[in-house]
């Protein structure tokens, strides 16, 4: 056998392993070799375990080879708990933490025959849009090394875009799968809230958090989703409804698919001209492929970002109260319990996490609770109702994923509000619990040439429709086959 290409996708690898055209060990060696070359430049991984990966691959080769992800090299964002690898949430708070249990995501991947190679970089506790909120080196965008990979699942998106891995698992609270997928030119799916278990995913904002796949094609994302989705006795908020065949759904485009467009959203002052042009062109291609374009209204769309930042910070302040330096994580010794808590948390949390905890406690305080948190929960209902009304007129809603392509490292570090405003197109799906995908739809015209993403949002638990629409769009172009210019870094 000749060495397989690092650009083989999930579907192709699993098929070749099952038919014995390829061995899992050969596939994992290709991934490890590419990671060795690219990791020093991209910083996508925070933990790599070649020995563990080779052992898993050998087990696949010696076994039945019929798992849905048999022999597929995968990485998990380091927000997912793994019993055999350290889990840090990208935080000094959990530096070196070795979890005493395996989370449900890692377990499902293992049961499907996947070969886990390591853990991928993220903004600390999944809070950020640039993968710069990290204890070490920020992740670099494979398309332009001076640009951000996006966040918070930046390591996952960069690793997939650079051909280090065919797929990775990210998490998405306000866009953290879709925005880095868009900025790195790959496919990322945030499932409906409750479609995928949260057991073993370190909590940021529990009513918004969802795990989901990043890969280089819609079909590959569908295959990984099929493994992740479904009831979990360890998560009582995980839906018990059956899991459809998501791979088959990619080929089942409803006749006369109706694609909704909220035109007012395109009047956003910060919308990049190339992003807008690529989005308009994508709509025309969808129309030419048989879809019907429908104008829809999302009357409370401009309230989505402030609603999101009230709710996610409130939930984060509550969720992160558990980091006390007592049971796990960093402990800075001090005389009293209160002083120990304060010293440990101040040493363990980075600036953005501390800002969000402070903001969360601000909106939750008794004298401001109704003004901020109570009101935001009601506006959230308005936003969810807007989507419900819109889906009476269309099957999926299209928008750009991010208002701008990948920005330069450092450009927004001192301006959190500017960073938050980049979430304008993505947070709505989290607030309403809807499935949403980002797929490559074009590139910027100037230099550097940067990928642009199209977002498609569907009704609750209609991942099948989202995948079908995304696959329809994918068939109209070749953007998902474009490769970043990494030759100058030796790959």
């Amino acid at each position: 056998m000749s060495a397989p290409s690092p650009w083989l996708g999930v579907d192709a690898i699993a098929a070749a392993i099952a038919s014995r055209e390829l061995d899992a060990l050969a596939v994992v060696e290709v991934a490890l070799a590419r990671i060795a070359v690219l990791q020093p430049r991209l910083h996508a991984f925070v933990h790599l375990d070649a020995a563990l990966a080779r052992t898993a691959a050998a087990r696949v080769d010696a076994g039945a080879r019929d798992g849905a992800l048999a022999g597929v090299p995968l990485g998990l964002k380091d927000l997912f708990v793994t019993a055999d690898m350290p889990t840090t949430a990208g935080s000094r708070m959990l530096a070196g933490w070795q979890p005493p249990y395996h989370g449900s995501h890692a377990r499902r991947l293992d049961d499907a025959g996947a070969v886990r190679l390591g853990k991928l970089s993220l903004d600390e506790f999944a809070m950020g849009s640039s993968n710069e909120n990290v204890p070490g080196e920020p992740v670099r965008n494979p398309w332009a090394l001076d640009r951000v990979a996006g966040g918070s699942s930046g390591g996952a998106a960069a690793a997939v875009a650079a051909g280090m891995l065919p797929a990775a698992i990210g998490s998405d609270t306000g866009g953290s799968i879709r925005q880095p997928a868009s900025l790195c030119g790959v496919v990322g799916l945030k499932p409906s809230w409750g479609r995928v278990t949260r057991a073993g995913m370190i909590a940021f904002a529990s009513s918004l958090d969802q795990a989901g796949p990043i890969a280089r094609s819609v079909r590959d994302v569908a295959r990984v989703l099929g493994v992740l989705a479904g009831a979990d006795p360890l998560d009582s908020t995980c839906a018990t409804r059956p899991v459809p065949d998501y791979v088959a759904a990619c080929d089942q485009v409803p006749a006369g698919l109706r694609v909704g467009v909220h035109r007012d959203a395109l009047a956003l002052p910060g919308l990049d001209a190339d992003v807008r042009a690529a989005f308009e062109a994508a709509l025309l291609r969808l129309r030419d492929a048989g879809a019907t374009l429908v104008d829809i209204a999302l009357p409370h769309a401009t309230a989505a970002v402030p609603t999101y930042y009230v709710l996610c910070t409130a939930e984060a302040a509550s969720n992160l109260a558990r980091y006390d330096g007592i049971r796990y994580g960093v402990r800075v010794a001090a005389d009293t319990l209160a002083a120990t808590l304060e010293a440990s948390r101040s040493a363990g949390f980075g600036a953005e996490v501390r800002r969000r905890i402070l903001l969360g406690n601000f909106v939750l305080r008794k004298d401001s609770y109704e003004h901020y948190y109570g009101r935001a929960q009601r506006v959230r209902r308005r936003i969810a109702d807007d989507y419900r009304d819109a889906f009476a007129r269309c099957d999926v809603i299209a928008s750009p994923t991010a208002p701008q392509p990948a920005f330069e490292l450092g450009a927004r570090v001192a301006d959190p509000l500017a960073m938050y405003l980049g979430d304008v197109f993505t947070v709505g799906a989290n607030l309403a619990g809807l499935p949403a995908i980002s797929v490559p739809c074009g590139f910027t015209g100037g230099a550097p040439r940067l990928p642009i993403g199209l977002q498609l949002v569907g009704p609750r638990f209609r991942e099948d429709l989202v995948l079908a629409a995304a696959a329809l769009h994918e068939r109209t172009g070749e953007w998902h086959r474009e490769r970043p210019p990494l030759a100058e870094v030796g790959a």
Partner: protein, 97 residues
């Protein structure tokens, strides 16, 4: 946009069990002030008679049979505890004099 008051920032830090370094206090006060001013946009939305959002599914909390299941191993749990002794988690003094 106005930075939040230093006393307000200190009160939030106490509630959050965080201490702020002197060299970051001004930046935090300004950044939080800008974000809080931005959040005022929510006051323009009419929410009269609108119930707070809650998830639609699952509709009820599922229950499992009352049968003992596998638990996380005690020694593995204790291995992650910063300070422990003979199977116990060691906690700093919590009664303040």
């Amino acid at each position: 946009m106005a930075a939040i008051d230093p006393a307000e920032l200190d009160a939030l830090a106490r509630l959050s069990r965080l201490s702020l370094a002197d060299d970051e206090r001004d930046a935090f006060a300004r950044q939080l002030g800008e974000v809080i001013a931005y959040l005022e946009a929510l006051q323009a939305i009419d929410v009269e008679g609108v119930a707070p959002w809650r998830p639609d599914e699952p509709a009820a909390t599922p229950l499992r049979d009352d049968v003992a299941g596998a638990a996380v191993d005690r020694d593995a749990m204790l291995a992650a505890v910063p300070v422990s002794d003979e199977g116990l988690v060691i906690v700093p003094r919590f009664v303040e004099s």
